[in-house]
Amino acid sequence: MATVTHSLRTMWVIFKQEFSLFFVSPIVYLIGAVWLFFAGGFFALTLTGLSQFGGEPTLIPVLSPLVFLMIFIAPALTMRLVSEEVRAGTHELLFTAPVRDWEIIVGKWLAAWGVFTVFMLLTGVYAVIMIMRGNPEISLILTGYLGLWLMAGSALAIGVFSSALTQYQLVSFMVAMGVMLTLWLAELGSNLIAGSQFFTDFFSELSYIKHYQNLVQRAVIEPLDITYFVLLIVLFLFLATQVLSTRRWSA
């Protein structure tokens, strides 16, 4: 069988299955509600600020806190993905089907990213309102969304990885949140290490904050920032695949 078409097909099948399973569980509606509540709240605050103090209309005050919110949203979306298969034993079906382990992982991750994309597009209504009523910099809105979208992709990859680690969804949630908070706070670490310029830079580059700020707050598309998110995605999907494969070796 032609390898590439086989892989694309398989991932599409897994994606469809997982995407539709998302909407069977009530959790996704709860997460969506939280997401939209905060997005709407930040937008309302932004509008209040603009009407009182004036200034350039922009979505930055809406998107920036939403990036931080992903630390909680992403693990909630992904905690079920692999854990539940292992708990219910349905991974046995996948392991004995003509499917590669990485195709399972990537298919599941794409489904989670797809659901997030729906969430994200729903907040697009605020962008539309702002464009209709004011005169915001449209490129700033687009790079902001690109940053949010890439950050979410990497956060969900971390989530899929921690879901592969355990059959308990709560543990998966905590681990993913821990990893993401660590990445976030790496910036603080860089401030603590004053002596070595190398380590200061290292921790700063490692941190989410710097890379999303470039995209979301400064609207600069730097190859380094894009690479950072892509690398995070590739790394954690690779690790997730390795973890899933080790389940084949245990009794």
């Binding site: 099948v13 349905t90 004995t96 245990s250």
Partner: protein
């Protein structure tokens, strides 16, 4: 269709299966008989591509499960011991999803899912949620899932475990039907199931094959040491045992709680002679009941045979 050579699997330092070699052809129903922990599930999981072996080869329909895993898995249908189901899907959605994973196109699936559900007699429940089905029905959903991509080899791990007698009969009937034009391998720890279904049986004990034969020859071979209980009125068991010891064909005679247990000598049936002697003594013959060999007895016997064999080899 299935070719296994020197298959070995370690879990850490524990050897779950030890140099298994066997084969199965098309149209054959191969039974895997053994107590829990004998290595049945491990062997099946290797054949289905779930886990790699530590050593040895397994070839399914011409494809090595390690070197060409996707090709091999494409040709195997697998029904694990606990049927893995997505409870929140309908029967049709579930079988359709598996069919799609096995690469069936939309048109093909429309036919094949229907056929598979018809084969397991579940077409009228196609739109039911799996979570709402009875255990027997779930077992059938699992079987439909294993059959939907028309595999050459069907592997079933304890397919009748936990079902009520009517469901057991149903599932066995289905296995017989689907086994006509493919290779079926099933594991069980029920002796009679093997006798009813299988054309050949492998007996597994501590990860090794201790016997391989047709169920008929196997049971005749085991008839050799048939045991039965004799209960007699008007005489104490000790007294009866004393007399029965001299009956031709009776091997070991022991007294048990309220009767005598006789083990026939190898290849003989001592029951007619025993009955005649008891009646001849003027006692009342209350009961003469054969004791079915339990699986445990068979293993004891087979493993004992093996030990004797290895001793004989060493002496020679």
């Amino acid at each position: 269709m299935i070719q296994v050579e020197g298959l070995t699997k370690f879990y850490g330092s524990f050897k779950a299966i030890d140099r298994l070699s066997f084969h199965a052809d098309r149209g054959e129903i191969l039974g895997f008989l053994g107590p829990n922990g004998a290595g049945k599930t491990t062997t099946m999981r290797i054949l289905t591509g779930y886990m790699p072996p530590s050593d040895g080869t397994a070839v399914i329909a011409g494809y090595d499960v390690i070197k060409e895993p996707l090709e091999a898995r494409q040709r195997v249908g697998y029904l694990p011991e606990t049927v893995p189901l997505y409870r929140e899907m309908t029967v049709w959605q579930y079988v359709d999803y598996l069919a799609e994973l096995y690469g069936l196109g939309r048109k093909q699936r429309l036919d094949r899912v229907g056929e598979a559900l018809e084969m397991v007699d579940l077409l009228d429940r196609a739109d039911s949620m799996i979570g709402n089905l009875s255990k027997g029905m779930r077992q059938r959903v699992g079987l439909a899932q294993a059959l939907v991509h028309e595999p050459d080899v069907l592997i079933m791990d304890e397919p009748t475990i936990g079902l009520d007698p009517a469901q057991v009969r149903e599932v066995r009937e289905m296995i017989r039907r689907v086994g006509q034009d493919r290779t079926v391998m099933l594991s069980t720890h029920i002796l009679s199931e093997v006798e009813q279904l299988c054309s050949r049986v492998l007996i597994l004990h501590n990860g090794r094959i201790v016997a391989e034969d047709s169920p008929q020859t196997l049971s005749t071979r085991l008839q050799g040491s048939q045991r039965f209980v004799v209960r007699v009125g008007k005489a104490a068991p000790e007294q009866v045992a004393e007399v029965l010891k001299n009956v031709p064909g009776a091997g070991v005679v022991e007294t048990i709680a309220d009767g005598v247990q006789v083990t026939s000598a190898e290849g003989e049936d001592a029951r007619p002679a025993v009955a005649a002697v008891v009646v001849g003594q003027g006692w009342d013959l209350l009961e003469l009941k054969p004791i079915d060999l339990s699986l445990e007895d068979i293993f004891l016997q087979l493993t004992r045979d093996e030990d004797e064999f290895s001793v004989a080899v060493e002496e020679a």
